[in-house]
Structure formats: structure tokens, C-alpha cells
Amino acid sequence: MGKGGRHAYAAISLLAAGALVLTGCSEGGSEGTGNDKQDKENAERQQAGIEFGDAKASTGPAEEVAGAKPGGTITVLQRDSFAHLDPGQIYVSDEMALSQLIHRGLTGYKATSDDGKEHEVVGDLATDSGTTTDGGKTWKYTLKDGIKWADGSAITSADIRHTFERLFAPFISNGPTYIQQWMADTPGAEYRSLLKDGPYKGKHLPDTVLETPDDKTIVFKFKSAKPDLPYALAMAGYSIVSEKNDTKEKYDKEPMTAGPYKIQEFKSGKSMTLVKNTNWAADTDPIRRQYVDQFNFQFNKQYEDSTKAILDDSGTNATAVSFSNQVDAGNLSKVLGDASMKSRTISGYQPYVGQMNINLSQKEMQDKTVREAIAYALPVTPFVRAYGGTDAMEVAGGLISPTVSGYDASFDPFGKKKKPAGDPAKAKELLDKAGKSGMKLTFGYINTPEGQQYSTAMAAGLEKAGFDVQRQEIPAETYYDQVSRVKNNFDIFHTAWGADWPSASTVIPPLYDGRQIQDGASNYSHINDSKVNADIDKASTITDPVKAAEAWNAINEYIVKDVVSNIPTAYYKQTQIAGSGLGGFVYDDVIGGVDPRRLFVK
């Protein structure tokens, strides 16, 4: 997912879609005890990976949180209201966090440690994470007994079929499209032709694609192996929709829920109240708990507002938290520097990796030596500093995040971790070698306070190496529109991207597949390298997650080191805070933020 996506970046980057990724960082990990230690921890976590759970692991109830007790009300202070509640339309991180409480899917991520760092994919509504006998082309799921909608009606395979069939309807335009494309065996938007009106005009997906032989059995059939299906099904965007209660577009405001909470009241842009779903059965759910009586959401709380309110810690603020707001940059150092405040925080990685794109469509940028000079010269420190320092950003070596399998902490071909301010001497040498000293370099930057700040300092760093940098501001609202145009005149510009699940299969193909260069697409640097394209095809068919991770990482290293089309800048981190009256406050690596399913009032 793009950080900021193609939506209004502006003051809000909520449209950074998707957060269901494995993210790694220890509590207080942003304290700055040294990158080496942290990198080592990250690497160890990645080696563990996320396994697919069996029937036993998929059986509820979820393990109790130590010290938890039922009752109470939690106040949730959010910056942005929820634009979508229809699972098929959910693809942004704050809606995904809400989804953990109200929606359920065939599979889900179950935390297997109390610190939110270890997980496995288990059956949520299904009895297990899925069974395949042909390497991932056919996947079979069986629904559990006793699973119900909030209105008390039973969840059946007809609902599951309906859930996937409606994703082809034209009004579903915001959610993930992985499974639809796999079903239709086609990339891009052509998948819709498989069932262009969805199930609403009497047509259905053929049994050769999706089979529901009885009330409890669902069989997915793909033309090629899709080993990542259990991960994909765990995305909030593939949570289930009630066939009986489907109101099409209106479902987006009043969905039928199946999770431990249901929506009592939602005033878009103002507030939301969640109350217990009495038809949710804990023994069918290995992932969620239902400790709190009520969640009261208040919207329009900027990061600074929510931080101050929670620091206040009186009245309802003592049991307040935010699912998405971070501790604001202005208060971050103060909060982390005070033991009593810090004890109420959690820290971890966000799914995004920042990168400076070198536009390979620009003539001057086709010289690899010039690109290497840019890579060495580019200072990353200004970017890190602009977004709140090392508590909020970590200098990146590669394009695969610490949250994704295959991450290699030691990979840093341009020495950015040791020299985050850049290496202008080396860059100058390369630029002279290329005979391009003094060449013009057009730097498109986002016109936000942070963009202004880091672009100025980055330009100064590049000029030290001999570039004549021309900064061109791009309005925040149209930033991604402009940089995703194939014909743009920027030589370099910064973007960020996050994985949808802990595999680089959701990073490398959309960003670096040369066959996906088109207006609006995400191959921002226009890399079209035959080796990369071929390796993507190969890696996509590897069913062993460990081998697949190695293959994806090899592509990452080749792009950064040999193609030099994208210069990694930073791994995004965040720190969140809660009132002292809350328990079960844990940073969940998969959610990429606080785990709302564990929260309780002390």
C-alpha cells in the first residue's frame, strides 16, 4: 500500500492503506539504544515467521489476558472518522483496527505471545487456516459450528460465497483486489469481467472458481498456486458480509457485524459507539476477547489533542486510547524522556518503507553511475529529522521492511546506516567519472511542512556532490497523482509503501514489475528490468514461505544495489499512548499498532 496512497496526502495520511503486516519492535524500541541491537532483534523475529495454524490452534476461546477483568468503557480518540464500514471497502489502517472488533473472516492472525510479537494465521470462522493438497491451487475451508451474525442468524457458506462475489460489483472500489484477481487469473481491473455485476443480477461465480457444496464448506480454486491465500483471507477487506442483510452501498454505513462488538451508533465525522455483541460466542473465536462493555469513539482529535488528553489522565481520559493516533512529534521526546509517561506508551514499526525514486524515464537518469552518485549523496538524516527523529523513523538499508519476511538487517549497500548524512565525496567522484558534474537534477517534493524541511536539506546534500538541484513543489493533495503519471518531469521524488501481509509479494510486484508501468500505477521509478520481471514471476510461484522470502529479498537487493532505481530512506515507526486505567495495552506487530482485542479497564 502506498503511504498516502493516491489520496490526499495533505495533513492526513490516513489513506495509507492496509496495515495487516508483521511488524517488529520491542516496547520502548524507539528509545534509541542502538540500531544494531534493534536490527538483530528484528532479524530474529523474522526468522521465526508466521506459520499457518491447525484446527487446535484455531479453536476458541482466546487465551485470557493476564489481569483482565470485564466491564467499563474505553474512550477512543481518533483523528479521522471511518469512511467505510463495509468490509469490502476497508483498506486503511484505522478502519482495519476497528474491523478487529466488529468483523470476522475465514482466517485471522492470532497472537501467540503476550507481547504482540509472535503470531500464527489460524481459522477464524473456519476450522483451520485452510487445507491444500495441490500446492496452493485449491484451498478448502470448513465453517465452525455456532458462528452467528449479530442478529442471531447463522453464518453459512452462502454468506462466504456472497462476500466474495460482491467484491466484483462496481460499487466496491476501495478494498484489496488480490483474491479477485487470483480468481479471475488476471492482473489489473479486468478481474471484474468475471462477474461484472457481482451477485446482484442472479449470476454467480462458477464452481470452477468458488465452490460451496454445503452450508459449511468453501473451496477456492485458482489456475495457479496461491500459497499466500491464508494471509490474504486474514485481511480486513476480506471479512465476511451477510447475504441476507446486504444493502449494497448502504451497507457501508450499517453493516451486519459478527465480531465481539456491534455498532450501536455511528455519527460520521463525529462519534461512534460500540457495544457487546451478545450473539458472539467466545468459544468460536481464538483471536478476540470481549472484556469492555463499550467503546466510545470521538473523531477529529489531532495527534497533539489526543496526546494531551491522554497525558491528562483524568476522568474519561484515564481510560482513553487511540487506535491510530501516534504521540505527536512535539511531545514525543518529552513523553519518552519521562519514566511515568513512557510507562504508558508502546512503540513499534509501521508497515511503510520510505524510498527516493529515481525516474528512469528521464534521459539523464538512465546513466547508472549518475544514479549511484545520487544514492551515495542523498542524506537521509533530514527525512528522519523532519518526521520526529529516530523515535519515529529508522534509517533503511533495503526496500523490505523489518515487518516483512526476508528482511535483512545487514543489507545496506550505500552505507546509509553508518553515514545517514550521505557520502558526498564518493558521490562527487562518481559524478565526475560520469562526466556529469553540475548536472541539473529536478527534485519533486510534497508541499507539507515535513516535505519542505527534508527536501531543502536533501537538496543541499546532493549539491555538495555536484548536482544542480531544482526543487519543484507538488501540492500535497495531488502529490501521488502527479508522481504516478508516466510522463512527469521529476528526476527524483520520495514515496512510501507498506506490505499488506508479511510477504514481499505485496511489495515487489506492484512497485518494481516493469509490466505495470502506467498512469496511476505504483511503479514510480519506471523500472523495467528483464531480470527483475523474470524473478518476480519465479518468486510468485514459490510455495515454501522461507524460500519465497529469500527470493523476494534477492530481488530487493538486486534493485537497490544493481539497478539503483530506488534508494531506501527509512522504516516508519510510531509510539502510542494510553490512559493509566487501561490494561492489555500491547503493540501488535501484525496490526501495526495497539491491539484493541486485548484491552480492558483496570
Binding site: 495533505a10 472500489s173 492482473p187 481491473a189 452501498e249 463525529k270 477529529n300
Partner: protein, 326 residues
């Protein structure tokens, strides 16, 4: 008087129509493609085309404008989200909610904020201004004048967080700003809006102090006032009977402008305190490039301003008969 009002209303309608045309062409005629906002991460030309059809922006701009105007007058039932009764501004690109119902939903907060603040700043501003004029040249006058100079140079985004830090988080004297419907809980409505009222009115009150003072001093120097005093009428009587009424004429005009601006959305105040009124909605619509919503907020604010101007003109005519005659 009726003819005067009729002329004003007719003029306002013409302005509103012109504004609608210009705003529509500006928003919908610009090269930006709103479909890109909804296209998701795996956007393709086909996906874009599909969204164009869904949003109805695959049609020509004149055609879209005609549909828009027809919708405002007669409503529309061609939205996939459901029927849209008149006045139909369409559905938000971002939230898929009817723009008109969203505007109506946000209006009570903005009205509460604007009217409450107006009461406070009129009471304080006019009161201190009149006192300063009454006690011209004294320490009281100088204090009020100096105070108003300082306060009028303040900004809401400075005073707001400061008031929150001191009055809410440190001393806990007031509740956090929050909007509760007046009909649901009048006490919570009142306590939740005190700080925004005070902050918003502080800046306005300072301006009104200076304005009321100078206007009153000017009036006190008018010939008819001096004549009244020369005829032996008491200072208090002349002050309130003659000077007060005359001094209100310029102030009423400014009140109308300020009130209409606030009713169109006190953007900075609402944003500073996280209050979901029309001003906040305007910011949201810009952030999300939500053109139907942006157009709706803008036209709604314009209509409010025009309406307030009509009311001000009427009040002006009541206060000053010369206006009616002109």
C-alpha cells in the same frame, strides 16, 4: 420596506446562481481527476473508467452541470447510493453520504458556536467599548483600549491550545470542548462549548470594544447630540437615547458580516478544538478533494452570508430610515 427587501432577495438569488456556475466550473472543470482518489493501490485505466461511470463524471461538464442544477431543484434518483431529494448536492466521494444531510448534520454545532460566541463578544465587546467611551480619557478607557489592542492581535490557534492547557488540563476548571446536542443535554451542550465560545469571542470582543468606543465617541460629537445636551438633557439620557442608537449603525453591519462568516463555518476554531461543524467539514472536504462536499459547503456558506446580509440590510433600514429611502 417590502420593496427594499424584495430587491435585496432578488439580487442575492442572482449572486447565488452566478456563484454556483463559477464554483461548479472551477471545481469540476479542473484537470484533477477525482476518480484517482478512489482508485486504490492497484489502480489501472480500466478501474479509473469504472469509477468515472460510478461517479457520473464520464459525462461532459455542461451535462454534469445541468444534472447538478436539476438535482438542486428537483432532486435526483440516479445515484447508485439511493435517491437524493432536493436540494441534492450529490453524494460525498469519500464517505458516500448525502452532502445535504451531512451539511444539516454539521449545522447545529456551527450555529451553537456562532450564536454563543456572538452573544459573548457583543455583551463584552459592546459593553467595554461603551464604558470606555463613557469614561473617555480615564484609566478605565486606557485599560480597555490597551487590552483590546493586545487581544485583537491574538490568534485562535494560539489562544485555543493555551486555554485548553490552562483551563482544562492543568486546573480542570472546564470540560474538554465537545459538542452535545442542545435537546439531548443542555448542560453538556453549554459546558462543552464554553472554551470555544470564550476563545472565539475574545478576539472578536476586542475588535468590538475598539469599534464601539470610536463609534460612540464619534456619535457624541454629532450636532444633534450636542444640541440635546445644550437643551439640558442629562448625559446618561443623551448617551443611551441618541448616541447609542447612532453608534450601532456601523456595528450592525460588521456583526452581520462576522456572524455570517461564523455560520458558514468557524474553520480555525472548529479545527483547533476538534469540533465537527461546517468549518471542519470544509477542511475535510479539501483534504479528501471531495468535490461534491466542497461545493456543498461553499454554496451553503455563500447562501448563509447572503441571507445574513439581507437581514443586516433590513435591520439597518430599521435603525436608519435613510437607507430605506435610498
Amino acid at each position: 420596506m417590502l420593496r427594499f427587501l424584495f430587491r435585496r432577495i432578488l439580487g442575492s438569488i442572482v449572486i447565488l446562481i452566478l456563484l454556483t456556475v463559477v464554483a461548479f466550473l472551477l471545481f469540476f472543470g479542473m484537470p484533477r481527476d477525482p476518480a484517482l482518489l478512489m482508485c486504490g493501490k492497484t489502480c489501472t485505466p480500466e478501474a479509473l473508467e469504472n469509477i468515472h461511470r460510478t461517479l457520473g463524471i464520464d459525462k461532459s461538464i455542461p451535462e454534469q452541470f445541468w444534472i447538478f442544477i436539476s438535482g438542486l431543484v428537483a432532486g435526483r434518483d440516479d445515484f447508485s447510493q439511493g435517491p437524493c431529494p432536493a436540494p441534492c448536492f450529490g453524494y460525498s466521494y469519500h464517505t458516500n453520504e448525502q452532502v445535504w444531510s451531512t451539511l444539516l448534520d454539521r449545522l447545529p454545532l456551527t450555529v451553537s458556536l456562532a450564536l454563543g460566541a456572538t452573544v459573548v463578544f457583543l455583551f463584552v465587546g459592546l459593553g467595554t467599548g461603551m464604558i470606555a467611551a463613557w469614561r473617555r480619557g480615564t484609566l478605565v478607557d486606557k485599560s480597555f483600549t490597551a487590552g483590546s489592542m493586545v487581544l485583537s492581535s491574538m490568534q485562535i490557534y494560539f489562544l485555543g491550545p493555551l486555554a485548553m492547557a490552562v483551563l482544562v488540563y492543568q486546573t480542570h476548571l472546564f470540560d474538554e470542548p465537545r459538542y452535545t446536542e442542545l435537546t439531548k443535554d443542555p448542560v453538556a451542550w453549554f459546558t462543552g462549548l464554553i472554551i470555544p465560545w470564550v476563545v472565539l469571542s475574545t478576539i472578536f470582543a476586542a475588535q468590538y470594544t475598539r469599534m464601539a468606543r470610536s463609534s460612540m465617541i464619534e456619535q457624541l460629537q454629532e450636532e444633534h447630540v450636542r444640541t440635546a445636551r445644550a437643551k439640558g438633557m442629562s448625559r446618561r439620557y443623551v448617551f443611551f437615547r441618541y448616541a447609542w442608537r447612532g453608534s450601532l449603525i456601523p456595528i450592525v453591519t460588521i456583526i452581520g458580516i462576522d456572524l455570517s462568516s461564523m455560520l458558514g463555518g468557524a474553520i480555525i476554531t472548529e479545527y483547533t478544538f476538534g469540533l465537527p461543524g461546517l468549518g471542519h467539514l470544509a477542511v475535510e472536504s479539501v483534504q479528501f478533494s471531495d468535490l461534491p462536499l466542497l461545493l456543498g459547503v461553499m454554496l451553503f456558506a455563500a447562501a448563509v452570508i447572503l441571507l445574513c446580509n439581507i437581514v443586516v440590510d433590513a435591520v439597518y433600514a430599521v435603525i436608519d430610515p435613510r437607507v430605506r429611502l435610498s
